[in-house]
């Protein structure tokens, strides 16, 4: 069967950086004006391509942090100290610079209102980025699907979108919870637990309510979370995940 190419999704295009926001000491959000942007669905990603003066190029994938309805396409990038592309994006890129990318890409890790819920979002570190796009989309379309974000971070300083999440700008149908695994501020009333089964059992809807689950984060986090969810009786087909980063082989 012939399948049509994704409209406009595959051509490299130039965006202009319109704003850069410091999210954490290691993470920035880069807002781009993209004249040829075809639109995206919440949860999708782009490929970014950098070109040195001698023609050398490097490509990496980054999740889109903005809702489809937002004014600009926003990429949130965490600086990896041994990285090649992320240190450039976090340290060097300035408003007014151009950035080459193509997308949107990926049709699996997406949520739209027609998929329903209840919606359970599990974020490990910068894995929160595509989940934030989902929450923003959930708000814009005024979805009444109950949604819950559980966000694992090492410390409060590492929480991306902290103001937006702590103030919960997403409305009454969205519940946001944090677990700080390494360092907790004084008087912290949230969790400090790792991805254990008891925590997941406490935070998620029971399997009989068939929650739709999105898990994004470093590989060990995603492995443990998905393994625990399946062990608790959740349907594998309703647990979507994206893992990133190396594993110790």
């Amino acid at each position: 069967m012939e399948r049509a190419a994704l409209p406009g999704g595959l051509t490299w295009q130039l965006g202009t950086v319109v704003e850069i926001v410091d999210e954490t000491p290691r993470t920035k959000s880069i807002a781009l004006a993209l004249p040829a942007w075809p639109g995206h669905r919440a949860g999708q990603h782009v490929d970014v391509r950098l070109t040195a003066e001698d023609g050398y190029q490097a490509q990496r994938s980054y999740a889109i942090a903005s809702a489809p309805e937002d004014d600009h396409v926003v990429l949130t990038v965490e600086r990896l100290d041994d990285g090649e592309v992320s240190p450039y994006l976090v340290d060097e890129l300035r408003p007014g610079d151009q950035l080459e990318l193509r997308g949107p890409l990926g049709g699996y890790f997406v949520w739209e209102a027609s998929l329903g819920g209840p919606l359970l979002l599990l974020a490990g570190g910068s894995g929160v980025v595509p989940l934030r796009a989902i929450l923003r989309h959930h708000r814009v379309v005024e979805s009444t699907v109950p949604a819950r974000l559980l966000y694992w971070a090492r410390a409060l300083d590492d929480v991306i979108y902290r103001d937006e999440l702590m103030a919960n700008v997403f409305g009454d149908s969205v519940d946001i919870r944090f677990t700080l695994t390494r360092e907790q501020p004084e008087g912290w009333r949230g969790w400090e637990r790792w991805t254990d089964m008891e925590l997941l059992q406490e935070v998620t809807w029971p399997p009989r309510e068939h929650p739709l689950v999105y898990v994004c984060g470093p590989t060990p986090f995603v492995d443990r979370a998905t393994f625990s969810l399946i062990a608790l009786g959740h349907e594998p087909g309703r647990v979507r995940h994206v893992a990133f980063g190396p594993t110790g082989v």
Binding site: L50, T51, Y88, E92
Partner: protein, 200 residues
């Protein structure tokens, strides 16, 4: 081509550029990309089967599979998420061995896996010494997170074609897109032609 102001890049001096496809970078890590949770099938319940457009389906239990002639191969693997890993060492059974004696008119293969993952390949891309079902990596049993107990290994295509947790092959007269192939990834996936997504 747009120059990225101030971008130097970090070229690896130790990687032979003729072995790195366009848009890839060489890593010593072994990142993972999965569509679903890592399955943990007991070896007692594991088998590998060849079915579909064949005269007679065949299947091997885990213990039978281990008695098949094995090969140890050193290959480069290229993931669509941009990393390449050179000189990876695998032990497994060549698909030529598994398909030996199978009578078929099929030209396509759909590999199927624990967890429901599938990926499609032309039959000619998995025969002629180009593909294996691997159960050891680097001299050790293959870890579940990397596809253990056994995964397909088709190193000349992007690594999503090397399906993890593979349980068999369905031989088909007509091509049927697999999991990532229905989500916008390229149907064939040649890294040297940078066939990452549909339309590439």
């Amino acid at each position: 081509m747009a120059i990225s102001r101030g971008f130097q890049g970090r070229r690896r001096g130790d990687a032979d550029p003729t072995r790195v496809p366009p848009g890839q970078y060489v890593t010593d890590d072994f990142p993972v990309l999965s569509a679903g949770p890592t399955p943990h099938t007991p070896l007692a319940d594991w088998d590998f089967s060849i079915r579909g457009a064949v005269d007679r389906p065949v299947a091997w239990t885990w213990n039978e599979f281990l008695t098949l002639p094995s090969e140890t191969v050193t290959v480069d693997v290229h993931c669509v998420t941009k990393w390449s890993k050179l000189d990876t060492v695998w032990k497994g059974v060549s698909l030529d061995t598994l398909l030996d004696g199978v009578e078929t008119s099929a030209e396509h293969v759909l590999a199927f896996c624990d967890g429901g993952y599938t990926t499609n390949l032309p039959l000619e891309d998995v025969t002629g010494g180009k593909a294996w079902v691997a159960y050891e990596y680097g001299g050790e049993p293959l870890e579940p997170e990397h596809g253990g107990p056994a995964r397909l290994l088709v190193p000349h295509l992007y690594f999503w074609k090397s399906a993890k947790w593979v349980r068999g092959l369905e031989l088909r007269d007509h091509d049927k897109p697999g999991f990532w192939e229905t989500y916008g990834y390229h149907n064939y996936g040649d890294p040297w032609k940078e066939q990452r997504y549909q339309g590439d």
